[in-house]
């Protein structure tokens, strides 16, 4: 199969205006994902499905990722004048990065038996009504998994034919897979609590005060 760079070049030639970014991947499998900008996501997806060399006709998995607000640290070499001598000193520069949500698609080709190609979309921030573009019009199999992303992560997928909650009930508040979701405090006695459960147990059953 083509490398991500080749795919990127061909997408940008076929879909005018599309901005594709290849993201690094440190894991051993090392499939580098393609980051697609939401306005062109649908056209890019159609290209990936219909292109005779790619024919990515099977979307095996759709999932969400929650990225909290974070501070990125990077080492930068800077020149400083120390005791009249110019020296190169390594500095740690910290830049705040606002949180966002992400939708990830894993694509395979049944016809040409290759894959995966990983497609990612980012949302603008991680507020209550963030959105991305639904790819259900291209891959019908995305429908339930995109509903799951909507239900558990709260990403509104524009263009989805039937965007409702799928796992939690209607009337449920919040999106449980978000990292800042607070579950109902319904702790019950545990014989051997540990870690987070131990913290909860301490809160609910305060240790006896010894005289």
């Amino acid at each position: 199969m083509e490398t991500p760079e080749q795919i990127k070049a061909r997408i940008e030639a076929a879909v005018p205006g599309a901005k594709i970014e290849i993201l690094p991947n440190d894991c051993p499998a090392g499939e580098r994902p393609l980051l697609v900008d939401p306005p062109h996501a649908l056209a890019v997806a159609k290209f990936l499905r219909d292109d005779p060399q790619l024919r990515l006709d099977f979307c095996s998995n759709v999932t969400g990722v929650d990225w909290l607000d974070a501070e990125l640290t990077e080492k930068v070499k800077a020149k400083h004048v120390v005791d009249g001598v110019e020296k190169e000193v390594e500095e740690i520069r910290k830049t705040p990065r606002p949180g966002f949500l992400e939708v990830v698609y894993h694509l395979y080709s049944m016809e040409l038996k290759h894959g995966p190609v990983v497609l990612r979309q980012l949302t603008n921030g991680r507020g209550d009504s963030v959105s991305a573009v639904s790819l259900t019009p291209v891959w019908r199999g995305c429908e339930f998994q995109e509903r799951e992303v909507f239900d558990l992560f709260g990403v509104r997928l524009e263009g989805h034919p039937d965007l409702r909650r799928i796992l939690m009930w209607d009337g449920f508040k919040g999106h449980p897979m978000r990292k800042d979701y607070v579950a109902p405090d319904d702790f019950e006695y545990e014989p051997t609590p540990h870690d987070e459960v131990l913290e909860q147990a301490k809160k609910h059953y305060p240790p006896e005060v010894k005289a």
């Binding site: 796992l167 939690m168 009930w169 209607d170 009337g171 449920f172 508040k173 919040g174 449980p176 979701y181 579950a183 109902p184 319904d186 019950e188 006695y189 545990e190 987070e196 459960v197 059953y205 006896e208």
Partner: protein
């Protein structure tokens, strides 16, 4: 009541005596009809129990009924999620008395490995009375057969009068239990205090 020694003496002579109560309980215990109803992987073991190798038919309990109106026994086989719990209680309410419940597996009795999760009920005994609990994840078919035998023993020992009588013969005892409603994060109420009280820790 007839004396046990006299009774066995009479039986040797070919005279059989019984009581209405014994006959009634014998019939009930040997034709328990469970509800066709599975929630998760425990249901696979329940299916295996009813198949030829373990053969639940030996205990008269092989007639799985697809309607709660015809069932005596609800085998809660599997994880009860909070979304599913009101439906389980409603099915139980629709069963005619006398009715019994077996909670099968770690999830049905306590929430099991999902106990600390936001989405799983911490045991079906919070809403409906459970007669037999089977631990295990999932329990083997032998364990379910043992639970059926335990239930049969319980039915056989239920007198028609007195404090141990079945619930439907007790004046004013409930046959239906309140169905919990979906709240914003949890079920409302989170448990039925008439059926279940949280465990107390003694220090």
């Amino acid at each position: 009541m007839i004396d046990e020694g006299l009774r066995s003496e009479l039986q040797k002579q070919g005279v059989y005596t019984t009581t209405l109560e014994e006959l009634y309980n014998w019939g009930r215990a040997n034709s328990v009809w469970p509800l066709t109803f599975g929630l998760a992987c425990c249901a696979i073991e329940m299916i295996a129990t009813s198949m030829a190798r373990y053969d639940l038919a030996r205990f008269g309990a092989e007639v799985f009924r697809p309607s709660p109106r015809q069932a005596d026994l609800m085998i809660v086989a599997g994880t009860v999620t909070k979304k599913m719990a009101p439906l389980v209680v409603r099915l139980y309410n629709q069963m005619p008395e006398p009715k019994y419940v077996i909670a099968m597996g770690a999830c049905a009795i306590s929430g099991g490995p999902f106990k600390q999760g936001y989405n799983v009920l911490k045991g079906i005994d919070r809403y409906i009375p459970v007669d037999v609990s089977i631990p295990g994840c999932p329990p083997r078919p032998e364990a379910l057969i043992h639970a059926i035998m335990t239930l049969q023993e319980k039915i056989l020992n239920q007198k028609l009068t007195g404090p141990n009588r079945p619930r439907h013969l007790v004046e004013g005892a409930p046959s239906e239990f309140p169905v919990p409603a979906y709240g914003e994060h949890d079920l409302e109420p989170p448990s039925n205090p008439d059926v279940w009280q949280p465990p107390m820790v003694k220090r």
